[in-house]
C-alpha cells in the first residue's frame, strides 16, 4: 500500500513539474572555452538528428577521440528521428540536452531565451563562416559545423545519354534538357519527393541564387510581392511549376519515397532532384549498393545565370548551440569547439567546413572549374522580420505545404494556374508584411 502512495505522489510530482516547466530561463552566463582541457569536467548530452551516425558508431568514435583530449568529460548522444518536432516541444522545459542543433523553426530573436552566447560576433566571425545566421545583438548563439551548396543532384550518365553535356543556364534550357531525357524513356526526368515533403522546402535555400545576390533573402522583408516576375521566388517556384506542368516529373507525386529515390537516382531511373550538395555522398552510396558507378552522380547549380554566370548559395547546415540551462557549459563548449575544428566530420561529409580557410570538398570541384560564383550564405540582417511576415501570412517558406499545393496546381489537381497561385501568395505576403512592418 505504501509503495502505491509513493507511486501516486511521484506521478503527481512529474505532472506538476511538467506543467510548470514553461517558466523560461533567467541565467544567461556565456558558454566560454576553458584554457586547460584537463580542468574541464562533467557529463554532457548532445542531441542530434543523425540517428544513422549513432547506429553505425561514427559518433561514438568521435566521442572516444574527444575524450583523449578531455579525459574528464563524458559525452552522451541522443538521437531524435523527428528532430524538429520533438526538440521544439522539449524546449518548453529545461531539459533539452547540453549541446543541441538549433531547430529551424525557432525564430532568431528567441535565441537568447534558449541558448548561451558563445562569444562576440566580431571575434567568432574571424574564425567561422555563417555566424551572422545566429547573431543577436553582437553575440553569437550557434555555430554550424558545415555548409552545403544548393543546387541539383543529377545522374551524369542519364543526361549524357540524352545528349546534354552543358549545365543549363535558363529555365527554358533546363526544361528542354528534361524533355530530352524524357524522350529517351529510360528515366523520370525530375523527382519531386512530394510525399516526404521536406525536400520541397529545400527550394527555399536557393533564394539569392537566381539573382546572384547575397542580400536576396533580406530583400523579402521590404518586397511586397516576392512572387512577381523578376524576383528570386518567381524563378525558383516557376521552375518547379513548369517542370511539373510539362509532365517532366513522376506520375503520382503523392506516393514518392525518399529512401527509394536514392536508389532510383543512383541507378539512372531519375534524372535530377533539387537538394543540397550533402545529398551527393548519399546518392553515391545508393549507387554503389545497387552495383552502379558512384561517379555518375553529379551536382549542378540552380539553372539561372546572371550576366552569363551561374551562381550558388552555400547554406549552413544545423547550427550547434549550448542549452542556456546546461550545468556543464564549459564541457559543452569544449565539445562544440573540438567537433568543429578537430573531428574532421565536415570533411567526412564532403561538405564545406565552417572553419575559415578549409579546402572545398570534391563534389564542388566542378563548380570551381566551370567558374560558378559561390556565395557564402544569405545575408541575415532582416531574418527576424522575414520570419514574422512568413508565419503571419501562413505561407511557410520553411515548410513544404505551399510547394505541395504548387505541385498540385501544376499537375491540375488543384484549381488555378501559376499566375493565380503566385498572385494569391503575393497577396498573403503583402498583407502580412503590412501588419508586421506597419
Amino acid at each position: 500500500m505504501r509503495r502505491g502512495w509513493v507511486a501516486v505522489a511521484a506521478a503527481t510530482m512529474v505532472v506538476l513539474t511538467a506543467c510548470s516547466g514553461g517558466s523560461g530561463g533567467t541565467s544567461s552566463s556565456a558558454a566560454s572555452a576553458a584554457a586547460d582541457p584537463a580542468k574541464v569536467s562533467g557529463d554532457i548530452t548532445v542531441l542530434t538528428n543523425r540517428t544513422d551516425q549513432i547506429k553505425d558508431g561514427s559518433l561514438k568514435k568521435y566521442a572516444d577521440e574527444f575524450s583523449r583530449t578531455y579525459p574528464n568529460v563524458n559525452v552522451k548522444f541522443e538521437g531524435l528521428t523527428d528532430y524538429e518536432g520533438e526538440v521544439k516541444i522539449r524546449m518548453n522545459t529545461e531539459n533539452y540536452g547540453d549541446v543541441l542543433l538549433i531547430p529551424d523553426n525557432v525564430s532568431i530573436n528567441q535565441y537568447p531565451t534558449f541558448f548561451s552566447p558563445l562569444g562576440d560576433s566580431a571575434e567568432l566571425s574571424k574564425t567561422y563562416n555563417w555566424t551572422d545566421y545566429t547573431t543577436v545583438k553582437d553575440k553569437v548563439y550557434g555555430i554550424a559545423n558545415y555548409g552545403t551548396a544548393t543546387g541539383l543532384v543529377y545522374n551524369k550518365a542519364v543526361w549524357q545519354q540524352a545528349g546534354v553535356t552543358q549545365w543549363p543556364k535558363t529555365t527554358q534550357e533546363f526544361i528542354d534538357d528534361l524533355k530530352a531525357i524524357k524522350a529517351k524513356g529510360q528515366a523520370t526526368p525530375y523527382y519531386t519527393n512530394y510525399k516526404d515533403a521536406w525536400p520541397l522546402q529545400k527550394w527555399t535555400d536557393n533564394i539569392g541564387g537566381p539573382s546572384c545576390d547575397q542580400g536576396g533573402k533580406d530583400k523579402l522583408s521590404t518586397t511586397a510581392e516576392p512572387w512577381a516576375a523578376g524576383q528570386d521566388l518567381n524563378a525558383i517556384d516557376g521552375l518547379l511549376y513548369t517542370t511539373v506542368h510539362e509532365k517532366l516529373s513522376e506520375d503520382d507525386p503523392t506516393t514518392t519515397n525518399w529512401e527509394k529515390s536514392k536508389t532510383l537516382l543512383g541507378t539512372g531511373r531519375i534524372g535530377a532532384m533539387l537538394l543540397g550538395s550533402w545529398a551527393v555522398p548519399q546518392m553515391q552510396a545508393a549507387a554503389t549498393a545497387a552495383g552502379q558507378n558512384p561517379d555518375d552522380i553529379g551536382f549542378m547549380p540552380f539553372p539561372q545565370a546572371t550576366a552569363g554566370k551561374l551562381c550558388t548559395i552555400i547554406q549552413p547546415d544545423y547550427k550547434y548551440a549550448v542549452n542556456v540551462h546546461s550545468k556543464n557549459k564549459e564541457a559543452a563548449r569544449a565539445w562544440i569547439d573540438w567537433y568543429l575544428n578537430k573531428s574532421g566530420s565536415a570533411q567526412a561529409e564532403q561538405a564545406v567546413s565552417s572553419v575559415k580557410g578549409s579546402p572545398l570538398p570534391a563534389s564542388l570541384k566542378p563548380f570551381e572549374a566551370q567558374g560558378v560564383t559561390l556565395l557564402l550564405g544569405q545575408n541575415q540582417q532582416n531574418a527576424a522580420v522575414i520570419s514574422k511576415i512568413d508565419k503571419g501570412s501562413e505561407i511557410g517558406l520553411g515548410s513544404p505545404d505551399y510547394r505541395q499545393k504548387l505541385v498540385d496546381t501544376a499537375r491540375g489537381a488543384a484549381q488555378g494556374d501559376m499566375n493565380s497561385y503566385f498572385a494569391d501568395l503575393n497577396k498573403k505576403w503583402a498583407a502580412s508584411q503590412k501588419t508586421v512592418t506597419g
Binding site: V8, A11, T12, V15, C19, G22, S23, G24, G25, G85, K88, M91, N92, N105, V106, S107, Q110, T113, F114, Y194, K195, A197, D251, D252, P253, T254, T255, K391, G392, E394, G396, S399, D401, Q404, K405, D408, A413, A414
Partner: protein, 319 residues
C-alpha cells in the same frame, strides 16, 4: 450500512457509551463517518488523478492559450481576449476543410452498415465464425501509423490495389492518392477498414444479449433471417446503433491520424485537426490553434446534443 460499518459501531470502545444519552449516538455516528466517507474516493484517486492531469488540466490550459497570442515556445505571451475567435470566424476558408469530413461521414455509414451485417451473420451459427470475428477485428488492434504505411504501398501506382484489380481484368491507371477527387475516398476507405471491426464487436455484444427463445419463436412463425433482423435484432440493439452514429459523426469531424500519416494533408486531404496542428506547429500560432480546438470541441458537443434530442435514449425491454 455495510457489514464493516456495523461491526465498527458495536466495537468495544464505543459500545458502553451508546445507550447513555440521546445526543451521544449522533456524535459517535459522526466520528465513524469521519473515518469512512472518503473510502470510495481512495479507490478513485488514481484514475481521477490521471483523468484530471491528462484530460481536464490540458483542456483548461487550452482555453487559457486560446485567449493569448502564444507562439508555442517563448516564455511570455500576451492576452488578446477574443481576438483569436474573431479571426477564426472572419476567415471562412478555415472552415472549408469540414467538407473533407463529409466524405468520412458518408464512409462511416458504410462502415456501420457493414459492421451490422457482419455482426448479424456471425451471431448465428456460421462456420468458422470465431475465425472471421478475429479477422474482422484484427485491423482495429493494429497501430494507426503501421496502417498508414501499409496502405501507402497498397495505393501506389502499380501497387497492391492495382495488381488486385488487374487480376479481375481492370487495368485503368487510377491515382488513388494523387487524384484530388479520389484521395479522400481512398483515405476514408482505410478508416472504414480499420474501424469496422470495433463497431462489429459492439454490435455482436448487444446481439448476444437477445434471448434465444425469441429467434425460436420467430422461426416457428416462419420468419426468415431478414425478418428476424428487421423485427428482433435491429430494435433490440437500437441504443448501440445510435451510440455508433454519434461516435461516427464526432469521429468524422475530428479525423486526423490516417490522412496525416499518409498524405500529411496534401492534395486537398487536409482535415480540421491537421489544419489546427499546422497552425500551432508550422506557423507558431498556438493561440489561434487552441481557439480552433475549442471550436471543434464545441461543435462536437453541439452535434451530439442535437442528435440526443432527435433520437432520445430509450430503454429496450427484452423478454
Amino acid at each position: 450500512m455495510t457489514a464493516l460499518q456495523k461491526d465498527r459501531k458495536q466495537g468495544p470502545a464505543t459500545a458502553p457509551a451508546a445507550p447513555a444519552a440521546p445526543t451521544k449516538p449522533a456524535l459517535h455516528r459522526r466520528t465513524t463517518r469521519r473515518h469512512w466517507w472518503f473510502t470510495p474516493w481512495l479507490y478513485l484517486l488514481v484514475p481521477l488523478t490521471l483523468l484530471v492531469a491528462f484530460t481536464y488540466l490540458p483542456i483548461i490550459d487550452m482555453f487559457g492559450y486560446s485567449a493569448t497570442d502564444w507562439d508555442g515556445i517563448s516564455p511570455t505571451s500576451e492576452n488578446v481576449g477574443a481576438d483569436n475567435y474573431l479571426e477564426l470566424f472572419t476567415r471562412p476558408e478555415l472552415f472549408k476543410v469540414f467538407l473533407v469530413s463529409g466524405v468520412y461521414l458518408l464512409a462511416s455509414f458504410v462502415q456501420i452498415a457493414a459492421a451490422l451485417y457482419f455482426a448479424t451473420v456471425l451471431s448465428f451459427n456460421t462456420r468458422f465464425r470465431n475465425l472471421f470475428k478475429g479477422i474482422l477485428f484484427f485491423p482495429y488492434l493494429m497501430n494507426g501509423v503501421a496502417i498508414g504505411f501499409v496502405f501507402l504501398y497498397f495505393f501506389q501506382p502499380g501497387g497492391t490495389l492495382d495488381s488486385l484489380l488487374g487480376t479481375v481484368g481492370y487495368h485503368g491507371r487510377l491515382m488513388w492518392l494523387g487524384d484530388p477527387d479520389l484521395v479522400n475516398k481512398s483515405l476514408a476507405g482505410v478508416s472504414v477498414w480499420r474501424y469496422t471491426g470495433l463497431n462489429m464487436v459492439l454490435f455482436l455484444g448487444a446481439i448476444q444479449s437477445i434471448p434465444g427463445h425469441l429467434y425460436e419463436a420467430a422461426s416457428l412463425d416462419g420468419a426468415n433471417r431478414w425478418q428476424q433482423f428487421r423485427h428482433i435484432i435491429a430494435p433490440s440493439i437500437k441504443p448501440i446503433i445510435s451510440l455508433s452514429v454519434i461516435l461516427a459523426i464526432s469521429g468524422s469531424l475530428a479525423v486526423f491520424e490516417i490522412p496525416y500519416i499518409m498524405t500529411g494533408g496534401a492534395n486537398g486531404s487536409q482535415t480540421f485537426v491537421i489544419q489546427t496542428v499546422n497552425l500551432a506547429f508550422k506557423f507558431d500560432k498556438v493561440g489561434l490553434a487552441s481557439a480552433s480546438a475549442v471550436v471543434l470541441l464545441a461543435l462536437i458537443l453541439l452535434v451530439t446534443w442535437i442528435q440526443r434530442r432527435l433520437v432520445p435514449e430509450e430503454r429496450v425491454e427484452l423478454s
